[in-house]
């Protein structure tokens, strides 16, 4: 009988007999392969050069490795823009998938990058996806080759996972990363010996940051795919027979992993002593990373440095991005508007500039395009920072430093980063949630991000605070930020006790990667890929919604003062469909004290972007402000007077309470259309809708409570 894999298992490697029996219908399958459903491992005794059950399917190459071993960097180095992030079947766990044509044969290969895992004995949904993808379990098709990525500086952990992958019976290619760091630490690894220990399975030195070894890795994958296949053969020697566990589904796999762990630890120790000629991988020596950690993980200095890093991140995504945002908003918008005007003028004449089609292009489509462009700078800066933090190895430390604080709401220390960034802009904050390795934590953090008070909301606070609280305006604005933190904690605690009951408070025990200098080329490539994914994924929904807003404000519902309203020529906002909708929903806000169409119109506009709320208010009151008027001046000027008058009337004489309620509503409801689009892109439509619904509910309840209490004072 032919072996399924051309890679002998650990029994063969060490020339010993397996302790597992050969009885029953599992007589030709041993190791972990015994536990994998039979249909995945057809006896191909005729040496058919295809893969498992479906000869027509493209070969499936699955990347597996511990967290922080450079697996995803390697994956992206090979796939580039051909890879896309998607949910694993039936889960919210993100996996990266892509395909590549192997030029020598013209064959298309499917590549799948799994979440990092320490073991196939999963403790989280992400690890479960990694394990089941590697084993071809459930909805996951069988892998044809597993690329096991090992970290040369954390070999025993890497080899432990490798020992489980060996048992799966799937042909392996081993990519070993961080060899440069291992060499610096005086470790000399013999990759040839590792290959021998693995019965000739290819072992390739790789570095995804530079692309080193990727060509050899691809060739090794091809060699494994081209090798004859057959049923799996024996695995780790001296271990209890897997068939004893084979009847209990996935639990059987877990039991098998536990029962065989001691044998694996011994195998790891033996393998390590065989391949490490220097013998240094078992000795503890002080490294450069240790010296840095002495400061960066110090009980006091570690927190101070972490907060300083967070401050820099916040500044970078706000202050640094500001001029670039303005450049897109003013310069690029100006150029494009001029271009459109010029085209209309020279093709359809002067009158066309006043037509609905011109208005649709400039006030609808172009507005949408510019909105997308204004998010490129903060997103780009965020992606650069994320790459730097991840590639350098600092992000893993940040998780450790903030672990205790974030446990209050059941989150990983890494959740602190998106929540801080959210106070600048929610959009890059949502991008930052992807640093969380656990999908459930990622989802919960994503749902909390919209409650962080982004800088766009500040303009609304300032106008309202100066209009209603005068000398206490500063205090009122400060309290909005306190409120934001309180809302995050409260919503976090509620989510923790309801939708996220399953988030376990498991012990924090994480392998720390060595510090590394990020490579500029890989960083630029990675940032470019992520930016493109954002622009291509979120732009359609943003542009579509903005065009829809234009349509609503372009359709008249009354003839207007001069009886000349027509499509795209509406004399006042309240005479459009948009105005009619604002008027019809205004009574909903009566319990919050702002049953006023100007307020509801501003809130609808604020759903698109908070930056335009003040402009919408001015427009609805037909107030013309000088371009250089500050928000404070607007609050104390004509706009402030108009607001005071409206709120005084709608609140029955409790204008300040109504203003506070309005400010809190602005704080808590949907930050902007772009975040909804990004939420949908990252977490799916259901989560995006949940976020919108939750934001509106929290905002409404808080606004009503604040107004009702304020009216009593």
């Amino acid at each position: 009988m032919e072996p399924k894999s051309n890679m002998p298992t650990m029994d063969d490697m060490e020339g010993m007999e397996s302790g597992m029996g050969h009885s029953g219908h599992h007589h030709h399958r041993r190791g972990l392969a015994v536990l994998i459903p039979e249909h995945h491992h057809v006896d191909l005794s005729e040496n058919v050069p295809t893969h498992d059950t479906d000869a027509q399917k493209d070969p499936r190459i699955v990347f597996v490795g511990n967290p922080n071993v450079g697996k995803s960097t390697l994956f992206n180095s090979i796939l580039g823009t051909n890879a896309a992030v998607m949910n694993a079947p039936g889960t919210t766990v993100l996996i990266e998938q892509g395909e590549m044509v192997y030029k020598k044969t013209g064959e298309t290969w499917q590549f799948i990058d799994t979440p990092g895992t320490a073991s196939l004995g999963a403790l989280s949904p992400d690890e479960l996806v990694a394990a089941q993808t590697a084993l071809g379990w459930g909805d996951h098709p069988d892998p044809d080759v597993i690329v096991a990525v090992l970290d040369a500086t954390s070999l025993s952990r890497s080899l432990y996972l490798l020992s489980q992958l060996v048992d799966s019976g799937t042909p392996l290619v081993v990519g070993i990363s961080m060899m440069d760091l291992a060499r610096k630490q005086g470790v000399s690894l013999d990759l040839g010996k590792l290959s021998s220990v693995l019965g000739g399975a290819p072992v390739v030195e790789v570095d995804g940051r530079t692309g080193k070894g990727t060509v050899q890795l691809i060739e090794a994958v091809h060699a494994q795919l081209a090798a004859p296949k057959g049923p799996a053969e024996p695995s780790v020697e001296g271990l209890p027979g897997a068939q004893h566990f084979a009847t209990s589904g996935w639990d059987g796999v877990l039991d098998w992993i536990k029962a065989t762990s001691d044998g694996r630890f011994e195998w790891v120790a033996r393998t390590l002593s065989t391949i490490d000629a220097s013998g240094r991988s078992n000795t503890i020596t002080t490294t450069f990373s240790d010296r840095l950690d002495r400061v960066l993980l110090h009980p006091v200095a570690g927190i101070v440095i972490f907060l300083a890093v967070m401050y820099l991140v916040f500044q970078a995504t706000t202050t640094l991005a500001g001029p670039l945002i303005d450049w897109f908003d003013v310069q690029v918008r100006g150029w494009l508007t001029t271009g459109i005007d010029w085209t209309f003028l020279h093709t359809a004449g002067q009158a066309s500039l006043d037509g609905w089609f011109h208005s649709l292009l400039v006030d609808g489509l172009l507005e949408g395009v510019v909105t997308v462009l204004t998010f490129v700078p903060p997103m780009g800066i965020m992606f650069i920072i994320l790459s730097l933090l991840e590639d350098s190895g600092y992000l893993a430390r940040a998780a450790f430093v903030m672990d205790k604080a974030m446990r209050v709401i059941g989150l990983d220390g890494r959740a602190f980063l998106p929540l801080v960034v959210g106070f600048g802009c929610n959009l890059p904050a949502l991008a930052a949630t992807r640093t969380l390795p656990d999908s459930r934590q990622r989802l919960m953090t994503g749902l909390l991000v919209p409650f962080t008070s982004c800088s766009a909301r500040l303009s609304v606070y300032i106008v309202l605070a100066y209009a209603f609280f005068e000398q206490y305006a500063g205090l009122a604005i400060f309290l909005m930020y306190v409120m934001s933190i309180v809302v995050i904690l409260l919503v976090g605690l509620v989510l923790r006790r309801t939708q996220f009951k399953d988030l376990t408070q498991q012990p924090f025990a994480m392998g720390l990667p060595s510090y590394q200098m990020p490579k500029l080329g890989q960083l630029a490539k990675s940032v470019g890929q992520r930016l493109w994914a954002f622009v291509s994924g979120a732009s359609s929904i943003i542009i579509t919604m903005i065009v829809m807003m234009w349509v609503l404000s372009a359709i008249p519902v009354t003839a207007g003062v001069h009886n000349d309203n027509s499509f795209a020529h509406v004399d006042a906002v309240q005479n459009s469909v948009y105005g009619a909708i604002s008027t019809s929903i205004a009574p909903v806000f009566a319990p919050a004290g702002f049953d006023d169409w100007h307020a509801s119109a501003a809130l609808i506009t604020g759903f698109v972007a908070k930056e335009v709320v003040v402009g919408s208010m001015s427009q609805s009151y037909a107030i013309s402000q000088p371009d250089d008027a500050s928000e404070a001046e607007e609050g104390t000027g004509t706009l402030g007077s108009a607001l005071r008058s409206s709120f005084e009337k709608s609140s029955g004489g409790h204008a300040q309470a109504a203003a506070a309620a309005f400010m809190v509503f602005v704080l808590a409801y949907t930050p902007c259309l772009a975040t909804v689009a990004e939420m949908k892109r990252q977490f799916g439509l259901k989560t995006a809708l949940q976020s919108v619904g939750m934001g509106l509910a929290v905002a409404y309840v808080l606004a009503v409570v604040i107004f009702q209490i304020g009216a009593l004072l």
């Binding site: 110090h298 672990d403 025990a509």
Partner: protein, 75 residues
């Protein structure tokens, strides 16, 4: 002398003798290198009783609550 990971001296070779946490999490600690009879060394103390343990070339960060439940023998 028996001690715990969060109170044992820094930079001294120690041997893990017992891990007193939920079995499935204890097994994960075993898998990443923290298991009975294993020789390790605490390199850094971090906030809230957390620490960084050296296991050969590898470094493992452990939170304070868990470190309190990992018992070690110091010489």
């Amino acid at each position: 002398m028996t001690d715990t990971l969060n109170s044992c001296p820094l930079g001294v070779d120690i041997e893990i003798c017992r891990i007193d946490i939920d079995a499935r999490y204890a097994f994960r600690l075993n898998e990443i290198g923290l298991r009975e009879h294993e020789k390790v060394r605490v390199l850094h103390k971090a906030n809230f009783g957390g620490c960084v343990v050296a296991h050969g070339m590898e470094r493992i960060a452990v939170d304070g609550d868990t470190a309190k439940r990992i018992f070690v023998e110091t010489n």
